[in-house]
């Protein structure tokens, strides 16, 4: 949700810096160098990469698949002999396999929503920034209004309409999530379109979108990367909130949020059902958070 990680403030500051120092590429390179000195962020990147790799490749090495029922082991604690290293759920399905599948699903929906919001944000922001004037004023006022709306309510209404197709749902969430991106792109476009080379390109007959994609978008690597690190956790948490409301993905598919919302009530009776997905979620989000912090510090042009 907007503002869970305070990304607006971060990104707006960064965009201002970008606009002031238009050498986007070197700024980004600079940032990477600085990031590589941040131990917490580096460790987080490695842990996250390992986790993602495990989530993607792990299922091929496990004795059980996420939807396979082991009728002899229903709601059983971890059992190394049978290969249920983290226990089973009430349907006798392996918790580790399900957690890995849930991690994949959570990452998938988060990625989809982020990509959708980035795309919409770039197009919307570029149009507003490039055409400026009245169009810009109206479009940006609309963004301000959207910021004001309690949009979890709209998400719920969307879910109610779309049913439980997770991808469709998160396309929907992405459609509500693009506001920050649009603001940044607009700012960038405004500053870049003043430049001589843009004048030259325009004189040479380049269309607005050619200019935007050749000159504006390449400068956005930094913001997009930060935006993604900050948006992914937001979406994952939104998904878990929806799961809690019973609006999560369809069985036998699962997601971290769904697993946790099933595990939370049985924390005492069947602790392993909560532990595995919660551990994955926490590790993943802690990593993303440290990476986000690292990027934020690294991209801040003032070297503190």
């Amino acid at each position: 949700m907007a503002g869970i990680t305070g990304k607006d403030a971060t990104l707006t500051a960064y965009a201002d810096a970008l606009a002031a120092a238009p050498k986007g590429r070197s700024l980004t390179q600079d940032a990477l160098r600085r990031l590589s000195r941040n131990k917490a962020a580096l460790v987080s990147i490695f842990v996250l990469a390992a986790l993602v790799l495990f989530a993607l490749a792990g299922p091929y090495f496990l004795p059980w698949t996420y939807d396979k029922i082991d009728w002899s082991a229903i709601r059983k604690p971890p059992d190394w002999v049978k290969g249920h290293y983290f226990g089973t759920d009430q349907n006798g399905r392996d918790m580790l396999a399900r957690t890995l599948q849930g991690t994949q699903m959570s990452l998938l929906v988060a990625t989809v929503a982020t990509v959708v919001s980035v795309v919409i944000g770039i197009i919307y922001g570029a149009i507003a920034g490039y055409f400026g004037g009245k169009i810009d004023a109206v479009m940006m006022r609309f963004v301000d209004i959207m910021y004001a709306l309690p949009y979890i309510l709209f998400v719920i209404i969307l879910v109610v309409i779309f049913g439980r197709s997770p991808v469709l749902l998160f396309v929907g969430i992405g459609c509500l999530e693009w506001l920050t991106m649009a603001r940044i792109v607009r700012g960038q476009t405004l500053s870049i379109k003043q430049r001589e080379f843009v004048e030259a390109a325009r004189a040479g007959g380049a269309g607005p979108f050619a200019i935007i994609f050749r000159h504006v978008v390449p400068n956005l690597t930094g913001p997009v990367v930060i935006y993604a690190t900050l948006t992914v956790p937001e979406i994952i948490l939104t998904e878990s909130f929806l799961s809690y409301l019973g609006l999560g993905v369809q069985e036998p598919q699962t997601s971290l949020g769904t697993l946790i919302s099933f595990g939370a009530p049985v924390a005492e009776a069947l602790p392993w059902m909560l532990f595995t997905p919660a551990a994955f979620l926490v590790v993943m989000l802690v990593c993303l958070s440290y990476i986000g912090d690292g990027l934020r510090d690294a991209l801040d042009p003032k070297d503190r």
């Binding site: 949700m1 907007a2 503002g3 869970i4 990680t5 305070g6 607006d8 403030a9 971060t10 500051a13 209004i145 910021y147 004001a148 709306l149 309690p150 949009y151 979890i152 309510l153 719920i156 209404i157 109610v160 309409i161 956790p233 948490l237 878990s240 909130f241 809690y244 409301l245 019973g246 949020g257 946790i260 919302s261 939370a264 009530p265 924390a267 005492e268 909560l274 919660a278 979620l281 926490v282 989000l285 802690v286 958070s289 912090d293 934020r296 801040d300 003032k302 503190r304």
Partner: protein
């Protein structure tokens, strides 16, 4: 200033109208209706009920009937909580939700500001590392899980606090809900405050203030806080919106008499009047609070003037 506020209020009207329109039609397009329960109603019974709630009229008619009603302050009946009108439900639940929300808002904001400022002043020393980590916890752990955990720990194991429920005056019952609601909000405020405070503390004008020999406390209180608050204040709008969604969970888990949970249950039950009523209310509250936030913003940042 007054004219500005007035204009803002006027712009709110089309927003609310738009919201009503979108929600109204989206809700009606959604499959299922308020009377699709576990048991089938005999067709004549269903017809009676639908006629009772005017659901047999053309949709557009219903829409205008609804808007006309709202314009007169009549939000219609609840189709699921049949003993209540939407207005009465909101009338009972709203004060509580606002009280809970604002308490959490104030507690969270103040705690977040203090924590963020402490972390910033001690940047890259142990209080900072500790706070940065502690503050992560409520942000990354879903609040329903957190609510279950605090219920178990403080209510069931330790018997320090009531687990849930609320009767007027029983403020102890509000400690855990406020905590759960305030923690993620406070954590975000703390992160923002830390970031902006670090930035402000590194600015030239803070160096100027130090060169004037003002003393650390005065510098922090007079020179650093106001500018450092600017990004924090601009978060408060979205933050409030987030508090509202958080209150859905908190009210549900702690069995509190607020309007938050009506929204969810009403959306799922297709209790059209309640969904629309609460949505309109939320939009109004959030617009109003955004107006307040903007006024505070202008006070903090003299460069922003009301246009």
């Amino acid at each position: 200033m007054l004219g500005y506020a007035l204009r803002r209020v006027l712009t709110a009207i089309p927003i609310v109208l738009l919201t009503i329109t979108v929600c109204f039609f989206i809700l009606r397009l959604a499959p299922g209706g308020p009377f699709d329960g576990e048991r089938a109603l005999p067709p004549d019974q269903l017809r009676n009920i639908r006629a009772y709630y005017h659901l047999d009229e053309p949709l557009v008619m219903q829409f205008f009937r609804y808007v006309a009603g709202v314009a007169q302050g009549n939000f219609g009946p609840s189709m699921v909580m049949k003993d209540f009108t939407v207005a009465r439900l909101i009338g009972i639940g709203l004060p509580f939700t606002l009280m809970l929300g604002f308490t959490a808002f104030i507690v969270g904001t103040v705690a977040g500001l203090v924590a963020g400022a402490i972390a910033a002043v001690n940047q890259n020393r142990w209080p900072d590392y500790l706070l940065v980590f502690v503050v992560l916890i409520p942000i990354i752990i879903p609040n329903f899980l957190m609510a279950n955990v605090v219920q178990l720990v403080f209510g069931v194991y330790l018997h320090w606090l009531p687990v849930g429920g609320y009767t007027p005056g029983a403020w102890l019952n509000l400690v855990l809900p406020v905590l759960i609601l305030a923690m993620p909000h406070g954590a975000r405020v703390a992160r923002l405050t830390r970031g902006s405070m670090i930035e402000v503390l590194g600015t030239n004008y803070i160096r100027t203030a130090r060169s004037k020999g003002l003393g650390a406390r005065l510098i922090l209180a007079r020179h650093a806080i106001k500018p450092a608050l600017i990004p924090v204040v601009s978060y408060l709008g979205p933050g409030l919106s987030y508090l509202l969604t958080g209150s859905l969970v908190v009210e549900q888990v702690f069995a509190l008499p607020g309007i938050g949970k009506y929204f969810i249950t009403a959306a799922l039950n297709r209790d059209y009047g309640v969904v629309l009523g609460t949505t309109i209310l939320y939009v109004f509250i959030i617009l109003a609070l955004n107006l307040i936030v903007d006024v505070v913003y202008a006070w903090l940042d003299p460069k922003v003037r009301f246009r």
